[in-house]
């Protein structure tokens, strides 16, 4: 498990992303993988943009959801680890502490916590050249077989 006190940042420009209504689409331009984040994950992503640590994000979510604090922290550590493994975030240890979290939701109105989900899609990765160029013609121009249909 990563340290819940580490600060990360989105791995831009290798990773590009767009957010709408707490949902996020991310594209890793290096690997060809792309991802969608559910609303909980999108909330956490917005907090990572502000350089919040996993522990700080867990505390913010606990103020807004009906949840078990230990479970939320465990889920956030797992989620941040997954983002890091996928190359979507990188450590940003020099970052300033995160600004104050949004206002808490009254207890009676808190929805049930649903875990953050990072959904991964790998179907574009085969469009990328995975192997170095080995075959060149007598003039130095590469010769690769045509890819399957397009």
């Amino acid at each position: 498990m990563p340290d819940g006190n580490l600060r990360y940042r989105p791995n831009t420009p290798k990773v590009i992303y767009e957010t709408y209504d707490d949902e996020v689409v991310l594209i890793n331009m290096d690997s060809g993988n792309y991802y969608s984040l559910n609303r909980t994950a999108g909330r956490a992503w917005a907090s990572i943009e502000r350089r919040a640590t996993a522990q700080e994000i867990a505390q913010e979510l606990c103020r807004d959801y009906d949840c078990d604090g230990a479970q939320v922290e465990e889920e956030l550590l797992r989620f941040v680890k997954e983002l890091h493994q996928e190359g979507l975030i990188v450590p940003d240890e020099d970052a300033a502490p995160a600004p104050a979290a949004p206002a808490a939701v009254p207890a009676a109105q808190r929805p049930l916590f649903s875990p953050p989900v990072l959904q991964k899609f790998s179907d574009m990765a085969d469009l990328l050249l995975l192997d170095p160029i080995h075959e060149v013609d007598e003039n130095g121009w590469p010769h690769q077989p045509p890819p399957p249909g397009n």
């Binding site: 709408y20 007598e138 590469p142």
Partner: protein
């Protein structure tokens, strides 16, 4: 077939040739090819602007121009884009060796060190074609060793990377999507290969709707979303042809269907339905259900972006944040729908017409 001549003594790379220097070398090579093998030019209106295609030698025009034929115009002055096409084989012209090492090819074919604010360079693996673009002069170069190397799918959407470069920094974006509709507007049909784009667009064509493309279209994302047709082609998986038997006689590659999709040039089929542009009223994400009936339900802007952006970006070398931002803008500015496409094809255009006339039924 290799069109490169074995004159290795004179093909040494130009040491330290940067993008501008190599671009000029290749422009000279193109002119030499034209002087040697004859040249021709064609003019088209693409995205509302005039585009001039110059061909050296006889081999490439028959492969490149048919997909654009519905946009052909007479000659004009001051094109907004000029593209120079040549192959070494039919022009018997030697291509200078690349000045970059074999390690310079990026994962989408981008040539590292040869992509600057002004110049774009990509080697299209598989097609074994080099494309370069000078954004200042809006001149592009398209070279391939031999015309036989150009696969059928490149003939269905030729020079898509060059068109993508040309539109960067403007509100236009080439998108991996189809588009069908009526005079007052239509839908952009997004989704990767196999999602049902072609079945949906061809079912709409059969129903008399207007057609702007089935695979790549040029979309102006603001102020009002507008789709421009680029390619008047349709590609269909061979086993899908049984659903459109009347198209069988128009298939341009009937002897290759064991390995290729059936490719149809729609100017031969329904020229009056090929349209240059129409406003985009909605984004549609087709799903093949296997059920008889077709249904439509709302899709979130994020679902639309997820269907549209990754497949566009990874098929267009050099695209990234700018293209993503434009597709995000489009996904937010028009409503999105999932089209659960049924096997009763007549229901598909009915559902889309219903959307265009006032929302899902």
């Amino acid at each position: 077939m290799s069109g490169l001549r074995a004159e290795s003594s004179s093909s040494a790379p130009a040491e330290n040739a940067g993008p501008e220097s190599f671009f000029e070398t290749l422009r000279d090579t193109f002119e030499q090819a034209g002087a040697r093998a004859g040249s021709s030019e064609r003019w088209f209106t693409i995205g509302g602007e005039t585009v001039k295609l110059r061909f050296a030698g006889p081999a490439l025009q028959p492969l490149i121009a048919p997909a654009l034929e519905h946009l052909a115009v007479g000659s004009a002055n001051a094109p907004a884009l000029t593209v120079c096409f040549w192959d070494s084989s039919s022009t018997d012209t030697r291509m200078p060796a690349p000045p970059w090492p074999t390690t310079a090819y990026g994962r989408r074919g981008e040539i590292i060190g040869y992509n600057t604010d002004r110049f774009r360079s990509v080697y299209q693996h598989g097609v074994n074609a080099l494309h370069m673009f000078d954004a200042h002069r809006r001149i592009a170069l398209y070279w391939v060793a031999g015309a036989g190397q150009i696969p059928y799918w490149e003939r269905s959407f030729p020079m898509r990377t060059i068109l993508h470069w040309w539109t960067q920094g403007r509100a236009l974006q080439l998108m991996h999507a189809g588009a069908v509709g009526g005079p007052s507007g239509g839908v952009l049909i997004a989704g990767k290969s196999g999602s049902g784009k072609s079945t949906t667009t061809l079912a709409c064509l059969d129903a008399g709707m207007l057609y702007a493309g089935d695979d790549y279209v040029l979309t102006r994302v603001e102020p009002e979303p507008l789709v421009h047709s680029v390619y008047g082609t349709a590609k269909l998986a061979p086993d899908n042809l049984r659903r459109f038997p009347h198209l069988r006689r128009f298939v341009s590659n009937p002897d290759c269907l064991a390995e290729e999709k059936a490719m149809i040039f729609l100017k031969d089929v329904c020229p009056a339905q090929l349209v240059r542009s129409f406003p985009v009223r909605a984004l549609l994400l087709p799903r093949v259900t296997g059920r008889r009936d077709t249904a439509v339900r709302r899709a979130t802007p994020i679902a639309c972006l997820e269907a549209l952006a990754p497949t566009t970006i990874f098929h267009l070398p050099g695209s990234g944040h700018d293209a993503f931002r434009k597709m995000s803008l489009l996904s937010r500015s028009v409503p999105g729908y999932i089209l659960d496409a049924g096997t009763d094809l007549e229901q598909i255009p009915q559902a889309i017409r219903g959307l265009l006339e006032g929302g899902p039924s």
